[in-house]
């Protein structure tokens, strides 16, 4: 046996920079393509706009990343509805008044977290497959929304929230981007530098082994679903700041794109592999793609087909699974 080789552990805690860099390169390529086909697309103002739009998806996808990493078929299809519900609660409570902003956000996030808790309990204690648990939850939350609003969402964003989201800070960048950066760093830290994060990866990679290593797998999973719903709720609140008014289906459309952003970012749906940096870039890629498709005047049908094809190309660049034969 040769002497044990311990290489300089240069990337002990950073996992696979590959997909992130690649996704970033693709985002840049899309922007350049956009500028070529519709000049103005790569202007500073438009880039900032795109980043701002990406932020909503990016924040919602934080939780989606966590849940997917947790494995066991982990996925949260209810993020869109939960985001909508949080925005509805928030807008009704703050009702356009800065004074009520904090309680409004707190209440909205608490309700979101409670929904996440139910998802988590269903997935762990009752062993309902996450896909179906969170799918059923969509109907439940929709019912709660109708009951809460009577079918008419009302209320308005507090000015402070709007100026946080839309207002320009340094470099003419909206506050939302700083907020997203901070949340993103928090997510990365949580995943890479905390016992929760490492437990999460362990549970995702091999739940039995995790339990037999003393990890409380159920608790970890429940926390994952609570975080997912909470970040979704936060995304909904931020979206409220952007639109200022609220609607019954405000954030519903984020359901599958949030999963796509995670996968494009290199996280494996099988669980146990991935990270948030990739997801953030994935959210940007998807948003730039939508922006590009919007400015191309190719008609709804063509746009839809191109959207699908480009997604496939993106995925085939790195969203691939291992091969069976090495």
């Amino acid at each position: 046996m040769s002497a044990p080789t311990v290489e300089a552990p240069r990337r002990v805690l950073s996992w696979r920079p590959g997909p992130v860099a690649l996704a970033g390169a693709i985002a840049v390529a899309l922007v350049i393509a956009g500028e070529l086909v519709s000049p103005g697309f790569a202007g500073y103002g438009q880039l900032v706009n795109l980043m701002r739009v990406a932020a909503f998806l990016g924040v919602i996808a934080i939780g989606q990343t966590i849940v997917i990493i947790a494995g066991g078929g982990g996925v949260d299809l209810s993020v869109g509805k939960v985001a909508t519900f949080a925005a509805i609660i928030g807008s009704r409570v703050m009702a356009g008044d800065d004074g009520d902003l904090v309680p409004a956000v707190a209440l909205a996030l608490a309700v979101a977290a409670a929904i996440g808790l139910v998802n988590g309990l269903g997935v762990t204690l009752l062993r309902i497959p996450p896909f179906v648990m969170t799918l059923g939850m969509i109907g439940v939350v929709q019912g709660l929304i109708l009951a809460y609003t009577g079918g008419q969402a009302s209320g308005r964003a507090a000015p402070a929230l709007t100026s946080l989201v839309n207002g320009r800070l340094i470099f003419d960048l909206p506050g939302l981007l700083f907020l997203w950066a901070a949340l993103g760093l928090l997510a990365v830290w949580l995943l890479r530098r905390t016992t929760f994060g490492w437990n999460l990866f362990a549970v995702g990679a091999n739940r039995t082994a995790a339990e037999l290593s003393g990890v409380r797998a159920d608790r970890t999973l429940i926390v994952a679903y609570v975080l997912s719903a909470t970040f979704a709720g936060l995304g909904g609140i931020l979206l409220l700041g952007y639109t200022e008014s609220v609607f019954l289906d405000l954030a519903d459309q984020y359901m599958l794109p949030s999963v796509a952003a995670v996968v494009i970012g290199g996280t494996m749906l099988a669980g146990g592999i991935g990270g948030y940096a990739g997801t953030a870039v994935g959210a940007i890629v998807l948003t730039v793609l939508q922006g590009l498709l919007t400015t191309l005047d190719i008609g709804g049908a063509g746009r839809t087909v191109v959207n699908g094809v480009v997604l496939l190309v993106l995925l085939s660049l790195y969203g691939r699974q291992r091969r069976l034969r090495s």
Binding site: L126, V132, Q142, M268, R303, V309
Partner: protein, 321 residues
């Protein structure tokens, strides 16, 4: 070692009895709430309603068994349906052509999915989400606005009964029979093996890539059959008609006892699961649940059904602490 096997279980897998029990309960409750549940019209119309979801659920089952999932099945239904209805143009003599077109489209869509999932090795949830855009976009190209018509004979026969047995029920039995036949074929055995453990299957000489492609192709085949049922049920073409069947098909698969992780389960359960799903909607209606709460109750019932099935697993798993 059974303890650890349970810890390892990725989710509930309903037993056949649980699914059947659910169906019986749904039928009993529904017939109690709906006075004319057993009338000829109610029976034929109920079964007519079930067929599209049943068909697509069988297709989804095969894909799920292979370890995948197909979020484009609904879009495939749409594309197959609009292709068929365009050719059909209201003429009965064109029916064989239209059926062939629907099947051809379904198989081609399945082949594309198989290609991207098995050969390019893209992750199925997102890959098929992407192909669903391709299929729905193409559906709009084929049929830019709703139109086209199905010969009246087709829609009439679909709503008819033969010797008191609804034609739509016969269609469901036909789907079950098709499944029963497939189940006895080597390809389905390989589908189970690949879904159960791809690496082991590969080392055991199973043509993994080809099997995966075939699973998606079979998914497409059943999507095409669903499309034909949709056409018979609706009587005309619509470029959005099937898209929402997708998620319901996954719910039906799980209610039917197939593990989303792959390799375990079967389409028999999914057929029952699809019927249960449709009956729950009826029950909620006939129980006069206020409209505000219908979706809530619907979602909660599905979660509860799965939860009840999960409780035995819970009890087995841990000692009373």
């Amino acid at each position: 070692m059974n303890v650890l096997r349970e810890i390892r279980l990725p989710g509930v897998q309903l037993s056949g009895t649980a699914t059947v029990a659910m169906l019986v309960a749904a039928v009993v409750v529904n017939s109690a709430l709906q006075p004319n549940f057993w009338s000829a019209y109610a029976l034929t119309s109920n079964f007519a309603t079930f067929v599209p979801l049943v068909a697509i659920a069988v297709g989804q089952t095969i894909v799920v068994l292979s370890g995948g999932i197909d979020l484009s099945l609904g879009a495939q239904v749409t594309l197959s349906a609009v292709a068929a209805v365009q050719l059909l143009d209201g003429r009965l003599d064109r029916l064989p052509l239209a059926v062939a077109a629907a099947l051809g489209v379904g198989l081609a869509c399945g082949a594309l999915n198989g290609l991207v999932v098995a050969l390019l090795r893209l992750q199925p949830i997102v890959a098929t989400f992407a192909t669903s855009f391709v299929f729905s976009g193409l559906a709009l190209v084929v049929l830019p606005t709703p139109g086209g018509s199905v010969p009246i004979e087709v829609t009439t026969v679909y709503r008819d009964a033969v010797l008191g047995v609804p034609v739509a029920l016969l269609a469901i039995l036909g789907l079950a029979l098709l499944w029963w036949v497939l189940r006895r074929h080597r390809v389905l055995r390989h589908v189970y093996a690949v879904g159960g453990d791809p690496e082991a299957a590969y080392a055991s000489l199973v043509p993994v890539a080809r099997t995966r492609v075939l699973a998606y192709v079979l998914g497409g085949l059943f999507a095409a059959l669903a499309a034909l049922a949709v056409l018979a049920n609706t009587g005309s073409g619509d470029p959005f008609v099937g898209n929402e069947l997708t998620l319901a098909s996954v719910a039906a698969v799980v209610l039917g006892g197939t593990a989303l992780a792959g390799g375990r389960g079967g389409a028999g359960g999914s057929i029952l699961g699809a019927i249960v799903l449709a009956l729950v909607t009826n029950i909620v209606f006939f129980a006069d649940v206020p409209t505000t709460y219908r979706q809530l109750v619907n979602g909660a019932v599905i979660i509860l059904a799965l939860a009840l099935a999960g409780i035995p697993a819970l009890q087995k798993r841990r000692p009373a602490a």
